[in-house]
Symmetry: C2
């Protein structure tokens, strides 16, 4: 007994993390197949001490029967092949942005809105990395105090742009003359207030994802989100400076206690002893780390915090695997 | 004819920039003397092709007559020696935080509040680097719309911690095992939400500087400031994500025009053509660069922007020299 699982985009930065996490979390797998485009089909991937040959992604293969297909292969691939797979009756957990805002498609962070998975079949969307960690930290406070408004500035790792960006930052750190290819400007020793493409209203798509995905996951489209998303010369883990204004006046100690009790959250908040989250300490971990929790100096309805999580793990692969686990748990 | 100028702390990162900038801006100097502690007294500094021997800082020498003493030697040195120099009738422009919030001490950004320099003799405080660039960008909007509230997250360069921090980041980039000394944790590939010491209310001193210095410079202690200050692995120039709410509804195009006209501000805001400020492009320049100017998606009273400036120059040395220039200009 066990699950038939396929990973589409298995050779990418998130895909490789999906394989590790399926192993680490001991997901009960009978058969694991890996799919990719022509560029990497035929490559060998190691999993649980065995070699898996990466298969070419085709329409035909997506029509076969899987318990779960985990997609991390980019928007256009997902638009076509996830649709075919779901049409054939498969459950797809998709990491691209393609399906997230479509009506009827669940957008899921298992700690936050698992109920939308109940009795659902088809495509499930995995939210954007920067949104996931923010809503994990905000959901327990939303339930208690009701969120009116969020102002967030991000400090995002290059791994969010895939393996080639990790290589690019490494090259630039070793060679001041190395030419940027993944990013429009040098990222080493720099900050770029530019993630994904610009919209006409002056916001990037990444910033708008944080607005609309947050509203959808927290199931409240009156929540105001003002986001500024920035790439920084960090390899792994996104950090976020989050200032949130509530409808009901929060109590700082109660809010801290709610976060300590919250699933998926680790509170690291003892600045006197240098305890606060950083991207280096969060890398390779599955939790969302929260620190620097404090009351606004002027507005008693507002709290600020610093939220850090590994963007490839909780921000992508771990969250996708947790969706699978949550569906299995709900079946019991 | 010309000015007798002394630079105290001349061998530090800001002190060296003061020497360069006095030269670049062609300040009319008759005599330039450099002072430092025992650690570097006796060293030679080059200025305008001549060598200057760094003199030991003593009480006696501070009682001599100078037109201007530019201090960048840390808080405790400034507390003692700037007081002696001012008592002796000298005009001191001090870069430490010691005098900034003292009543009767002007805290000056020449583009913003030059009028407080008129007929003043004694100690003048140079604001904190992260405050200077923010108020340069906000002052023209404050005049037109009145600022109610600012939420700011910073991306601060290591040069703000002096020359030894520049060396530390360089060492860490070359050696993954290099032990942090200047910072409590590794800064290479990391972000530290910790600049200066923590206060009991959960804010750092750096964050509180941005609150109270902003109110003092903009001469409005009703302005609410919520600041999160973060060190990033960048060598030069601080970046700031600033979201500002006004009393009167701003017009985006008018606000952009006000910034284009504002002294010391360069608007770089054409994201479609990848034009936005970055710390790498701002390094070595004297202006404050503003981009990503946009309206809040929900609150018509709120604008967001991205503000970048060289923290050693406009954030410290340039601003100090501009204070000197402004006093000279007002004498004419």
């Amino acid at each position: 007994m066990g699950l038939n699982v396929g990973v589409v985009g298995a050779t990418g930065a998130v895909g490789r993390n999906m394989l590790s996490i399926l192993n680490e979390r001991n997901v009960n797998i009978k058969s694991l197949r890996c799919f990719a485009s022509e560029r990497t089909a035929g490559h060998l991937l190691e999993w649980k001490g065995k070699e898996i040959t990466v298969e070419l992604l085709t329409e035909e293969v997506m029509k076969e029967s899987f318990d779960y297909l985990l997609f991390s292969a980019g928007g256009s691939v997902s638009e076509k092949y996830a649709a075919i797979a779901a049409e054939a009756g498969n459950t797809v957990i998709d990491n691209s942005s393609t399906w997230r805002m479509k009506e009827g498609i669940p957008l899921v962070v298992p700690e936050v809105n698992p109920h939308v998975l109940k009795n659902y079949k088809g495509i499930i969307a995995n939210p954007n990395c920067s949104t996931i960690q923010m809503v994990v930290a905000l959901a327990p406070l939303q339930q208690k105090y009701g969120i009116k408004r969020i102002v967030v500035s991000t400090y995002q790792a290059v791994s969010g742009s895939g393996h080639k960006a990790i290589v690019e930052l490494g090259n630039q750190l070793n060679d001041p003359d190395s030419i940027p290819k993944v990013y429009p400007k040098r990222i080493a020793g720099n900050c770029l207030p530019h993630i994904d493409v610009f919209n006409e209203n002056g916001y990037t798509k990444e910033e708008l994802k944080m607005v609309y995905e947050t509203q959808k996951i927290l199931e409240d489209d009156t929540i105001e989100v003002n986001a500024t998303t920035v790439r920084v010369p960090v390899f792994y883990s996104h950090s976020e400076s989050v200032t949130v204004t509530f409808h009901r006046k929060p109590d700082l100690n109660e809010a801290r206690e709610l976060l300590i009790q919250a699933p998926g959250v680790v509170v690291m908040d003892d600045p006197a002893n240098l305890e606060y989250p950083t991207p280096l300490m969060a890398a390779g971990k599955d939790d969302t780390f929260v620190g620097r929790l404090r009351s606004d100096l002027f507005d008693p309805f507002t709290l600020s915090m610093w939220v850090v999580s590994d963007n490839l793990r909780k921000g992508a692969a771990t969250n996708a695997v947790q969706i699978l686990e949550k569906i299995e748990e709900q079946k019991l």
